[in-house]
């Protein structure tokens, strides 16, 4: 079903792994416009297709991957996509958002989203390529790390993959896409529970644009702002997110020793500045991002790895009581390969260290000790010994060993790397965040308290609730649109702090103004969408969305989309039995001042929550009011809201959680057995599965005639290089269009394989099934020197060979190109060319 709005591809894929059925999920034009795709659309679909009360690791749960309207459009930082599912840690809503390439490639394949339901009966992977969707056997990939898995599925498509942690249902398992990660909420465990090892996407579609000139102008203006603002043009590109280490340590907001402090001595050893001076080898960026915050390559122990982000550095460094940047990098690398969220892993490890030091948990984990950390991460991924307990996260660890008052989590999910007691608004964000403690879902008010240019008093509760609501709505709108939230850091006017000194009189005025946020921002959500019929240069997203899509995306429309997304997620939680009693923090953060000389260095949650609910238009028990749902066009959710008001769903939720815990051990044992079985037969499985797939492909290829579509040909010559025929059956010269010479073509399909999916310039038309022409090739055993050269050169993987064994040509797969014969050294001449009868 297409949509009348540009920017979207108009189709959502719906794959049921239990039945193997692939269909399309309908989304109305109104929903596309009201939600803008991404996080909002994902939450809405999830709400509609997943019934309340299910086990997140059961086939009833669904994974909803969605790209936003801007994803893949070329707008700045617009590579973001989202996955929504039921949260393995909290039992409420889960959402994870990431840059990378998958969202873009999904759109190039022709889809705005992918829904995965059910559970396969053996490990599988899904291939999405230009409208075609196939479910493949992945038994040979099961048990492999995320990098090997991705490499095994090709480099010209975008791949999502889980590692051993996802397979073993670790509650904070992640999903990798290249080096970028859908990290939080245990989304990797949901994928593992479905026996879905990987998904690939690729295609040659283009994102339709409504007003090409207007969009190009909007993108150019927006890029200019990002390239000239100190946050996005200097700090993030120069030092990455790790530039936050020194600032957070100085403002006492760096998670340290299980959040017992906000600063660590020698924090600079972990900083982005130190990384740049010592181990950094290459910076990088997601697609279409001018900020370039990624530390693509660092060198540790003579090996090239991905540079760790701030959250990883904070939680796996200072939070564990050490400042060894090389160790943090090794841990980050291990987490990526195993498929583990570094935030929840770091939070849980820090908590386990404090439990151990207090004698409440028997383990050799200690603050400052680093020699056992890599082994512990491995144990978590494979659920071995103590690792099995740690794999459950800090809340469940506290339920078993005590320490709930200092477990750094809310709703069951661990804090990010910011200690909230010296940025109390940020603490409110942790408590109310829909997916469990999260800095982004919580509104990132710390930007106004400790990190940004002009800040407000970090310890006052005044103004924080309204600011939190405003930020949450804006971030949700940005995330829904498929854009990176780093684009919002440039909203403070360039050079404002040069005109208004933060520590002068004007700085004090700014503080007072921000404290009055309730009056400035508290009602913005309640204004009708036409009340803000403007594009504000400081929030350039609206202009880009309008010109790209044709949606009249005013600032009012944009913030309303964010509020709608946030409310849908809250309603998902309400339907699961959550209410205000779950918007809490452990008592360390609300009762114990972080600094003895500063009694206000604690989160005054009780003072902020009532105002937060009021600004949100929720009732004092934390449930949205009916008029809010009506205002946001969410009337279908009214019945669920009324049911939640009538019945206390909270107790049944907690009981369900208990029973899920008991069921999990059996599930994990099953997975372990499956992995062990597949491990033993991996080589033969790979050969069998590989041959089956190659045979399928040969069968298809033999029914096809190949031609170059000149409208799509990029003149790169990859098809020419791949053509095995001599002389070549592809005519091409540098800078010129390629052409397939039908009289020479042997229909091997290798040109099609070589053409990048995003171009897909080789067209296939169905023809009478034909055997590939040309002679048959066979190895002459008595002449074969078992060197493997033919095996190495065969472009169709049609030759079986192992060291010191004879090569054997599989005639059913052979494309008759003769390369094996050509490559076999003349002195042996071990390949016979036979004319077929």
């Amino acid at each position: 079903m297409a949509t009348r709005y540009c920017g979207f591809m108009g189709e959502i894929l719906d794959v049921d792994l239990s039945t193997g059925r692939v269909s399309r999920y309908d989304v109305s034009d109104d929903d596309y416009a009201a939600l803008l795709g991404g996080k909002g659309l994902g939450a809405r679909i999830l709400y509609d297709i997943v019934p309340p009360g299910i086990d997140p690791l059961s086939p009833d749960n669904a994974l909803v991957f969605t790209a936003g309207v801007l994803t893949g459009s070329g707008a700045p930082c617009s590579s973001r996509y989202n996955v929504s599912t039921k949260n393995v840690l909290t039992g409420g809503i889960a959402s994870a958002n990431s840059g990378g390439t998958f969202g873009t490639y999904l759109k190039l394949a022709g889809f705005d989203g992918l829904i995965v339901r059910g559970r396969a009966d053996h490990p599988v992977w899904i291939e999405i390529l230009n409208d075609s969707v196939k479910i493949h056997d992945a038994r040979h990939l099961w048990g492999l790390d995320t990098r090997v898995t991705q490499a095994g599925l090709g480099t010209r498509v975008s791949t999502l993959a889980i590692g051993p942690a996802g397979e073993n249902l670790v509650r904070f398992a992640s999903i990798l896409n290249g080096h970028r990660v859908l990290a939080r909420c245990g989304v990797g465990a949901v994928m593992g529970s479905k026996l879905l090892k990987a998904v690939t996407a690729g295609g040659c579609r283009r994102v339709p644009v409504y007003d090409r000139e207007g969009f190009a102008r909007a993108v150019a203006d927006w890029t200019r702002v990002l390239k000239s603002h100190p946050s996005t043009a200097v700090q993030l590109p120069e030092f990455g997110t790790a530039a936050l280490v020194n600032t957070t340590s100085a403002t006492r907001t760096l998670a340290t020793r299980n959040f017992s402090a906000g600063t660590i001595k020698n924090a600079d050893e972990l900083s982005g500045e130190t990384m740049a001076e010592t181990i950094l080898r290459k910076k990088g960026a997601c697609r279409s991002c001018p900020i370039r915050c990624a530390r693509e390559k660092v060198e540790v122990d003579g090996r090239i790895m991905k540079g760790p982000e701030f959250e990883t550095i904070g939680l796996m460094g200072a939070n564990l009581g050490h400042t060894d940047l090389a160790m943090v990098t090794r841990m980050s690398e291990a987490c990526d390969l195993l498929g583990i969220d570094t935030i929840s892993a770091g939070g849980t490890l820090g908590f386990a260290m404090e439990l151990s030091e207090r004698g409440m948990l028997k383990s050799d984990l200690r603050f400052g000790r680093t020699d056992n950390l890599l082994q512990t991460l491995d144990d978590i991924a494979y659920r071995r010994g103590l690792g099995d307990e740690l794999a459950e996260g800090s809340m469940r660890l506290a339920m078993r060993h005590g320490g709930g008052d200092f477990a750094p989590q809310a709703k069951g999910m661990e804090f990010a790397a910011y200690e909230p007691r010296s940025a109390v608004g940020h603490g409110l964000g942790y408590a109310v965040s829909n997916r469990g403690a999260c800095h982004i879902d919580g509104g990132y008010v710390i930007f106004f308290e400790a990190l940004g240019g002009l800040t407000m008093d970090p310890l006052t509760p005044l103004g924080k609730p309204a600011l939190t609501v405003f930020q949450q709505n804006t971030f949700d709108a940005v995330a829904s649109s498929g854009c990176c939230i780093f684009t919002t850091y440039a909203v403070i006017p360039l050079g404002a702090e040069r005109v208004i000194s933060p520590h002068g009189f004007a700085g004090k005025v700014v503080n007072e103004v921000l404290k009055g946020s309730r009056f400035l921002l508290g009602t913005q959500g309640r204004l009708p969408r036409w009340a803000l019929p403007v594009h504000v240069p400081l929030i350039p997203h609206t202009k880009a969305i309008s010109t790209l899509s044709g949606i009249d995306c005013t600032l009012g429309h944009f913030t309303l989309a964010g509020e709608r997304a946030y409310t849908i997620e809250r309603m998902f939680n309400v339907r699961e039995g959550f209410d205000g009693r779950d918007d809490v923090l452990p008592s360390r953060f609300t009762s114990e001042p972080q600094r003895p000389d500063e009694p206000n260095s604690r989160v005054p949650l009780g003072e902020m929550l009532p105002e937060y609910y009021k600004v949100r238009d929720w009732d004092p028990s934390g449930l949205p009011r009916e008029r809010l749902l009506r205002r946001l066009g969410l009337e279908p959710m009214l019945d669920d809201l009324r049911a939640a008001r009538k019945t206390d769903l909270r107790s049944p939720r907690l009981v369900r959680e208990e029973s899920q815990g008991r069921g999990l051990a059996a599930r994990v044992a099953d997975v372990r057995e499956l992995t062990a079985t597949l491990e033993r037969s991996r080589a033969s499985l790979a050969a069998t599965i590989g041959r089956t797939e190659r045979l399928d492909r040969v069968a298809q290829v033999r029914e096809s005639v190949f031609r170059v579509d000149w409208a799509r040909c990029q003149r790169c010559g990859l098809c020419y290089d791949a053509c095995p025929v001599k002389p070549k059956a592809v005519a091409w010269e540098k800078g010129k269009l390629a052409e397939i010479l039908q009289d020479r073509c042997i229909r091997c399909g290798l040109c099609e394989d070589a053409c990048p999916p995003r171009f897909s310039a080789i067209d296939r038309t169905r023809a009478e099934p034909s055997r590939i022409g040309g002679p048959v090739y066979r190895v002459i055993p008595e002449r074969c020197e078992k060197c493997g050269l033919c095996w190495k050169k065969c472009p169709a993987d049609a030759i079986e060979w192992k060291k010191d064994e004879l090569a054997v040509i599989d005639e059913e797969i052979c494309v008759r190109c003769g390369l094996c014969k050509a490559k076999c050294p003349d002195k042996w001449d071990a390949i016979a060319e036979l004319t077929e009868a």
Partner: protein, 82 residues
């Protein structure tokens, strides 16, 4: 002696990220560091956020805030992350 942390453009102006200085107030500290590192330091210090032992100085006595031995002062610049 006061421990000083410098971030981003402030560190660039001074050529170091960590230093120490003797000063009775924040204002005096800026003067002392300006004398050491030049006028660019003072110019950039105006737009930087100054934090004393974790608390921004505008919530104390601004440039008149008194400093004691062992205090930690940081000159910060805007940065956001995620």
């Amino acid at each position: 002696m006061v421990e000083v942390t410098l971030v981003g453009p402030m560190a660039e102006a001074a050529g170091t990220r960590k230093t120490e200085a003797e000063a009775a107030t924040v204002g005096e500290l800026i003067e002392a560091l300006t004398a050491r590192y030049g006028a660019l330091f003072k110019q950039r210090a105006r737009g930087s956020r100054i934090v004393l032992n974790g608390t921004p100085i505008q919530f104390k006595k601004g440039h008149k805030t008194a400093l004691a031995d062992g205090d930690e002062v940081a000159f910060l610049v805007p940065i956001g992350g995620g």
